[in-house]
């Protein structure tokens, strides 16, 4: 398995609180992604990174921010969590997205009460 660790694996938080999810990789891959998975929607891209300090928005970026200060870590922050952000969050990495597949972590289940 690709070396991807997501933390925490489960989190329950209250509406309005800030939350940060961490994705750590040991593969030295350039590309990293954050997706959310909800029933009936498959996976939707939140943000992605194509290098250190190089990030961009995905399809559902409102309410989320990201940071990548070093190759191995990609952080996803919910500045003020809302119930609509209850979801399972997946991090993915790729060495070369045009010639190699995405490798996904095992996800973080976030519940906002």
């Amino acid at each position: 398995d690709a070396g991807i660790t997501q933390s925490p694996r489960h989190k329950v938080t209250e509406t309005g609180t800030p939350v940060t999810l961490r994705c750590h990789q040991t593969e030295n891959h350039r590309y990293m992604y954050w997706y959310r998975q909800d029933p009936g929607h498959g996976l939707r891209l939140i943000h992605y990174s194509y290098g250190v300090k190089d990030t961009d928005k995905g399809e559902v970026s409102d309410g989320y921010s990201v940071s990548r200060s070093k190759t191995e870590d990609f952080l996803l922050t919910l500045e003020s969590a809302t119930s609509s952000q209850t979801s399972v969050y997946f991090c993915a990495i790729s060495e070369d997205p045009y010639n190699s597949p995405l490798h996904f972590g095992n996800g973080t289940r976030l519940t906002v009460t």
């Binding site: 498959g42 996976l43 490798h103 972590g105 095992n106 996800g107």
Partner: protein
């Protein structure tokens, strides 16, 4: 915005039956990927198809990419209980420009194969 419609959303069959899952879009994709996901884990890539009309086989699984690169299908022959899981199709790129590997996923098909 590119969309992928995956059907059916749920499939419950008996061991030994055949099945087909469809993935359709009005948009062109540079590539189409199929993933399988187990509970509590992330999706795992099964196959990538990149050429219109391409057919790939993986044991009892057959994947096809439409000629116009807008649709794809996954056919499983003689399904087994071990095939149970969530199957996801995902389209990459739009046939031109830089996509940075961003994927558009279908809604997923939950397959249950009963012994």
């Amino acid at each position: 915005t590119q969309l992928l419609e995956q059907s059916p959303q749920f499939l419950s069959i008996q061991e030994g039956e055949n099945l087909t899952v469809y993935c359709n879009s009005s948009s062109v994709f540079s590539s189409l990927q199929w993933y399988r996901q187990e509970p509590g884990e992330g999706p795992v890539l099964l196959v990538t198809v990149v050429t219109g009309g391409e057919v790939k086989k993986l044991k009892r699984l057959t994947f096809q990419f439409g000629d116009a690169r807008k649709d794809s299908s996954l056919h499983i022959t003689a399904a087994q209980p071990g095939d149970t899981g969530l199957y996801l199709c995902a389209g990459g790129g739009d046939g031109g420009g830089t996509s940075y590997g961003k994927l558009t996923f279908g809604q997923g098909t939950i397959l249950t194969v009963h012994p």
